[in-house]
């Protein structure tokens, strides 16, 4: 884990502690995916709505804090703004509002929505003859929702090769309804699917940048909930929606710093 990934995670921990909010483990599982996307797509933090930008949608909206801290790292706003998370009057909610935060393309929260909207954007760009690309990040838990697979079928049928689905396979549904063999499932639904190490920014970028033709792409990112802090990984369900107190923050920051670079 490099310095940037650690810095983003440290901010997540400090803001979760400060605010009393945050889905820390699920935020920790997507940081490298977010970085890979933002280091591959066309965006401009100084002009977030510019016409030719590519689109990123966080369909698993409860990981908003992870996205906020990543957007701050890539220049959309100062990280200090995010410390108001969840406060009445703050722009930063536990689920993002596209009218309040630069860089947020869709207000999400309820699972299974972002992928369909992303498909509509991708179709729109193709009909316009536009080269803009759309990236959408969904979770394995989210993939319990039928709308995910409904949309997957449609994207393949419409040949939306400007759409990339990033599948955060952090196995959050292991206690409930596991989504086994996601690569096989996406392939059988007609998408070009591949599996990568979800914590290797370079590996993810390599597949994100690799051109595909005629089919949408599903990148199954093998990830670990709470990646970077063994306490979170070990007790992932207890930490699903917890924020650390002062003592726990020290422990988690210590664990994060000890994670090999």
């Amino acid at each position: 884990m490099d310095r940037i990934s650690k810095e983003i995670r440290e901010n997540i921990l400090r803001i979760a502690h400060h605010s009393g909010h945050g889905h820390i483990p699920t935020c920790f599982s997507i940081i490298e995916m977010l970085r890979a996307v933002y280091e591959s797509m066309r965006y401009n933090p100084k002009q977030p709505d510019y016409d030719e930008r590519d689109i990123f949608i966080l369909s698993k909206g409860h990981a908003a804090l992870g996205l906020y801290c990543t957007l701050a790292r890539y220049g959309y706003f100062p990280i200090s703004d995010v410390f108001s998370l969840g406060v009445f009057g703050s722009n930063f909610g536990c689920h993002a509002d596209r009218f309040k935060i630069p860089g947020i393309e869709l207000s999400t929260g309820s699972l299974g929505h972002g992928i369909g909207v992303a498909a509509g954007m991708a179709l729109g760009f193709k009909l316009s003859g536009n080269s803009r690309k759309v990236f959408v990040l969904i979770g394995d838990g989210e993939a319990n929702e039928g709308s995910v697979w409904e949309t997957a079928m449609v994207t393949a049928n419409l040949h939306l090769d400007n759409l990339t689905i990033l599948f955060d396979n952090n196995r959050s549904q292991s206690r409930c309804l596991p989504v086994t063999n996601p690569e096989e499932k996406f392939t059988s639904f007609g998408l070009k699917a591949m599996t990568v190490d979800g914590h290797d920014v370079s590996a993810i970028k390599e597949v994100v940048l690799c051109p595909v033709e005629g089919t949408p792409r599903a990148i199954v990112a093998q990830t670990t909930k709470g990646m970077g802090c063994p306490t979170l990984v070990r007790d992932v369900f207890a930490w699903h929606r917890r924020s650390p107190n002062s003592d726990e923050l020290k422990i988690l920051l210590g664990e994060l710093n000890e994670t090999s670079v």
Binding site: G109, G116, G124
Partner: protein, 301 residues
């Protein structure tokens, strides 16, 4: 009215290359002409209403004027959250055009009846809700709303009220005003035909709404001092009236039970007391309760 949808779409598409139709595998044959003229702008997406709505939101974000078309219960009741969040909460404009509202698919039974759509859509912030009762009303209302940037719901009906009325989005129509009448009958959509047959010679006022939201407060307030009976084969109008201003309104419409009958639309309306005879009986009963004989001096517009 569905043919009018096709004709209106063809007319508008000629001048608007952002008009795109997303179909849930209905009306495809009817729209063959549209498909021939604009092959890239009619996409029969599939029987997947959640995705239809979400994709419409995405297409709106990409600069299009998407029109989703499928059967009313499946897109409003099943995909309510997609309409609520992807369209309304995200302020992404799209027009949902449905058929099969109320009991238009009478013979298909309760799975295909849909009387909640208007009220469900009305409750969503930012949503415009229309129940045209004629081809002319559909044409005017749809043309007004489809590209205004707001989410809109337009219900296509299997029948029509048979009147040629003035149409303006958001405006109700005064059908009949009776001097001194203390009872006003309010209705919406094609049922106006039965209401007029039932009440044309009764000492009542009749007001009609093709637009459920935004609601014509001015017209309602004019009759707010009278007792109001809402005659409607759906939910939505009664609630809109009560939400608009303080009125004494009652509802002659649907019971709190599924309609487990087949047959025709007329059969179902007769069973529910929404044929002309049933409506007349309800209105006369209300008149007698009030002791309201009013004046027979009716002026029909």
């Amino acid at each position: 009215m569905r043919r009018q949808f096709k004709d209106t779409a063809i007319r508008l598409a000629e001048h608007d290359d952002k008009l795109v139709l997303l179909f849930g595998d209905i009306s495809v044959f009817l729209f063959s002409e549209f498909k021939e003229l604009y092959p890239d702008r009619l996409l029969n997406i599939g029987i997947c209403e959640n995705t239809l709505i979400s994709m419409a939101a995405g297409m709106s974000a990409a600069g299009f004027h998407p029109i989703v078309h499928t059967i009313a219960p499946f897109v409003t009741e099943r995909s309510y959250e997609q309409v609520k969040l992807d369209l309304c909460y995200n302020c992404l404009g799209a027009t949902i055009v449905t058929c099969g509202g109320s009991f238009d698919y009478a013979w298909d039974g309760a799975t295909h009846h849909c009387y909640t759509d208007l009220e469900l859509m009305r409750m969503l912030p930012g949503m415009e809700v229309m129940q045209p009762g004629s081809k002319k009303e559909f044409d005017t209302l749809f043309s007004t709303c489809y590209n205004n940037g707001n989410p809109s719901y337009v219900r296509i009906a299997a029948d029509e009220h048979g009147l040629d009325l003035p149409v303006e989005f958001g405006k109700g129509v005064l059908i009949k005003e009776t001097r001194g009448a203390n009872l006003t009958v309010a209705t919406a959509g094609p049922l106006l035909g039965n209401v007029l047959s039932a009440c044309s010679d009764l000492p009542v006022n009749i007001i009609y709404f093709h637009t459920i939201k935004p609601f014509d407060r001015d017209l309602l307030e004019r009759f707010a001092g009278t007792r109001i009976i809402v005659v409607h084969d759906a939910f939505g109008l009664f609630e809109a009236i009560n939400a608009t201003c303080s009125v004494k309104a009652e509802y002659h419409g649907l019971p709190d039970e599924f309609c487990c009958y087949y047959g025709t639309l007329e059969d179902i309306r007769r069973k529910l007391g929404l044929d002309a005879a049933g409506i007349r009986c309800a209105v006369e009963t209300t008149l007698l309760q009030d002791g309201n004989k009013g004046s027979q001096d009716a002026q029909t517009t």
